[in-house]
């Protein structure tokens, strides 16, 4: 169960090798999380994270293979996890791909791959998870979105639009689950220095996985539906949305 201060006891992570997920899990295990299921693509990294979480106090950590684009298998994979572990208090959607922005702008296959992972994968797994949360009458679905989806920029519009789609999907899912006992939290980090962004020039208000994790865990405790990391981005992005197109297009980066 999630406790009165938003701490889960069991967590399923889709995209379990993500650095953001790992930073968040460290903090959740320090609180109440004792069962963690890591679903992802990179078995080595999953094992590494699993081993770390066990040393931090988790009691049951399982790793399994999850492919965002194999949507046909999502329902049965999610069914299996809930069937074997019972209640899952928090499901973290942490998978995603940045693609290769310059290439994807002109490459149909690359662009479709980004959309398939970030958007279609979220929709498919999101619906499968929502059914279980509704049945168990409680639980939090947390989706790692991005500020890139708030106002899609020319430099990475394929990635940005896929995040805009998944962000809108989870906002809609929140309304759909109203009254079910399940909660949907959308997290919008800014530029995070991770493997995914290695080699890219950091954008303004760049942050780290550790700082994002701190914002996320605090958001769970204080009951936020929408978490910005760093928090100042809430106001920065509100301003960015109001910029005239001619100015917006010329923003650096």
């Amino acid at each position: 169960m999630n406790d009165a201060l938003g701490a889960p006891q069991s967590v399923l992570v889709l995209g379990g090798s993500s650095e953001l997920a790992r930073a968040i899990l460290r903090r959740l295990v320090a609180r109440r999380a004792r069962t963690v299921i890591l679903a992802g693509r990179d078995p080595e990294r999953l094992k590494e994270t699993a081993a770390e979480l066990l040393t931090l106090g988790a009691e049951t950590v399982e790793t399994l293979s999850f492919e965002a684009t194999e949507t046909a298998g999502h329902q049965s994979l999610i069914d299996d996890v809930f069937g074997r572990h019972g209640d899952i208090d928090l499901v973290l959607f942490a998978f995603g791909t940045l693609g290769v922005p310059e290439r994807d702008a002109t490459d149909a296959t690359g662009a479709a791959e980004v959309a398939a992972v970030n958007f279609a994968g979220s929709v498919s797994a999101g619906i499968a998870v929502a059914g279980h949360l509704r049945r168990q009458g409680h639980g939090t679905l947390m989706a790692l979105s991005s500020v890139a989806g708030v106002r899609v920029r020319p430099s990475n519009f394929v990635y940005g639009s896929s995040k805009a789609g998944m962000d809108a999907f989870f906002q809609g899912l929140r309304h759909h689950l109203e009254g079910s006992g399940a909660r949907v939290v959308v997290v919008r980090p800014g530029f995070v220095a991770t493997r995914m962004t290695a080699g890219l020039k950091p954008a303004p208000f760049a942050t780290t996985a550790e700082d994002v994790a701190e914002c996320v865990v605090r958001g769970l405790e204080t009951g936020e539906d929408l978490v910005w990391a760093p928090p100042v981005l809430r106001w920065v992005m509100a301003a960015v949305k109001l910029l005239p197109t001619a100015v917006f297009r010329r923003l650096p980066g």
């Binding site: 406790d3 609180r31 019972g86 079910s180």
Partner: protein, 453 residues
């Protein structure tokens, strides 16, 4: 019957359940015969602060209709009531006829079933013990059938039910030993205490002279004023102690709620409002005075404000109540120091000196000091603060109160309640299939978990 979102009185951790409202005891008991895969829990008036009376994805049996009330032996003061009967209903019916409940918590809005399941205590714990000590028998619906349980014929089940948080069955009814009173007033002695040592010394030496005693501490007071408090002690007034005008109707009882908090308010509890309130409250109290007060204002001051829990805003609040042995005074001191150092906006904390425990393995009261604090849940940083307090409390041989809990670390439970294993054995005997379930039970691992078929 329908799906409803439920929380405790603190309005944290909402979950949904099918809420059924059986019209009588028979249909309430029948709910245990064909439970769904996520089990059943009873819910009275929803005054537990945390997740004790909710059951995510399962069934919640609302007991409000189980509200019968009749004398089983009036001369002996033995009253038979339904599990859903509220203390409010009992007091309205019987105070005018010269009877008071043997133990009253800080609100009349609790059901008898809830009062037994949480084994509630009141300001008379030092003298009279907790609620279940005044219950002579109870009617308990278990998955194996309905039975009468008394402390003499099945002490294990009786005392596992007292404080058992509803996890041994649905309390359909009970017989209470009522207290005869001459008037509906209380003779109250109020004293201001300068600090924690002062109030504790007064309680240690003087509580025995009064049936009721409690102190309210200003949590924002710091330094030498740490623990400054107002100690109120009282006894049921005799007719000759009433003012002449009141002697005509010595048992008049008409408590009312004059104020109501609207359904949607922003959180009004913050450092500024709490500071102003606490300061005004301390200055208003006389340094020493004796007054005659109505039962309702002495026992249930917050009942005058309907929905006072909404003052904390949509984020809700946590009530933290612990007890530590009498020798562990330092834990109370440390708690107040940390609270005031962090400037956490807690309204008055309540301090009480408990008397002997009753035999319930999960019953909260034990001889010692108990302190209760209300804190807004959305402060940020509260989780770590309370986790630290839990460790101090457990380390000192103390415990937290499950009726208020929504966040205890599960592995500390067995330290705080060393007879937990004994309780579980009795529980599993009457409910081997794990039909009785609640969010509290899942969170703390109190029951066997059923798997969805």
């Amino acid at each position: 019957m329908g799906t409803e979102v439920l929380t405790g009185w603190g309005r944290t951790a909402p979950t949904t359940a099918e809420v059924v409202r059986p019209a009588d005891a028979g249909s309430a008991a029948a709910m245990l015969a064909s439970p769904g895969s996520r089990g059943v829990i009873a819910r009275g008036l929803g005054r537990s602060y945390g997740d004790a009376a909710q059951n995510a994805g399962g069934t919640v049996v609302a007991t409000a209709a189980l509200d019968r009330m009749s004398w089983s032996d009036e001369a002996a003061g033995l009253l038979a009531v339904g599990g859903g009967t509220s203390l409010d209903a009992i007091l309205r019916a019987l105070v005018p006829r010269g009877w008071f409940v043997p133990v009253s918590p800080g609100t009349r809005w609790v059901s008898v079933g809830g009062a037994i399941a949480a084994d509630v205590h009141g300001k008379n714990h030092h003298a009279e013990g907790s609620f279940a000590s005044h219950v002579t028998s109870l009617t308990l619906a278990t998955p194996a059938g309905t039975r009468e349980v008394t402390p003499s014929d099945d002490p294990d089940l009786f005392w596992a039910t007292a404080g058992g948080m509803g996890l041994t069955g649905i309390i359909l009814g009970a017989t209470l030993r009522m207290l005869p009173i001459e008037t509906s007033r209380v003779r109250v002695v109020t004293e201001r205490a300068a600090d924690l040592d002062d109030v504790m010394a007064r309680m240690s030496s003087g509580d025995a002279g009064h049936r009721y005693s409690v102190a309210w501490i200003d949590c924002l007071a710091q330094g030498r004023a740490l623990g400054r408090s107002v100690l109120t002690r009282g006894d049921h007034a005799r007719v000759d102690e009433l003012p002449a005008a009141a002697r005509q109707h010595p048992l008049r009882f008409d408590p009312s709620s004059h104020l109501s908090v609207p359904a949607f308010v922003p959180g009004l509890v913050n450092r500024t409002t709490v500071r102003l309130f606490n300061e005004g409250w301390f200055r208003k109290a006389k340094s020493h005075a004796t007054t005659i007060e109505p039962i309702s204002s002495f026992f249930h001051p917050l009942d005058a404000v309907r929905g006072w829990n909404r003052l904390y805003g949509p984020g809700g609040f946590v009530q933290y109540q612990f007890v530590v042995p009498l020798a562990a005074v330092d834990i109370v001191q440390t708690t107040l120091q940390r609270l005031s150092a962090l400037r956490l906006p807690s309204f008055l904390a309540v301090l009480k000196r408990f008397g002997p425990a009753d035999p319930g393995p999960l019953s909260f009261p034990m001889p010692g000091w108990t302190l209760a604090l209300d804190l807004p849940a959305r402060l940020g940083g509260l989780a770590a603060f309370l986790d630290t307090l839990d460790e101090l409390v457990a380390g000192a041989g103390g415990r937290v109160y499950l009726a208020k809990d929504g966040r205890l670390r599960p592995d500390l439970l067995a330290h705080m309640y060393p007879r937990l294993g004994e309780w579980k054995a009795v529980r599993d005997r009457v409910d081997p299939q794990g039909v009785l379930q609640s969010d509290l039970a899942r969170r703390l691992g109190l029951t066997l978990q059923r798997r969805a078929a």
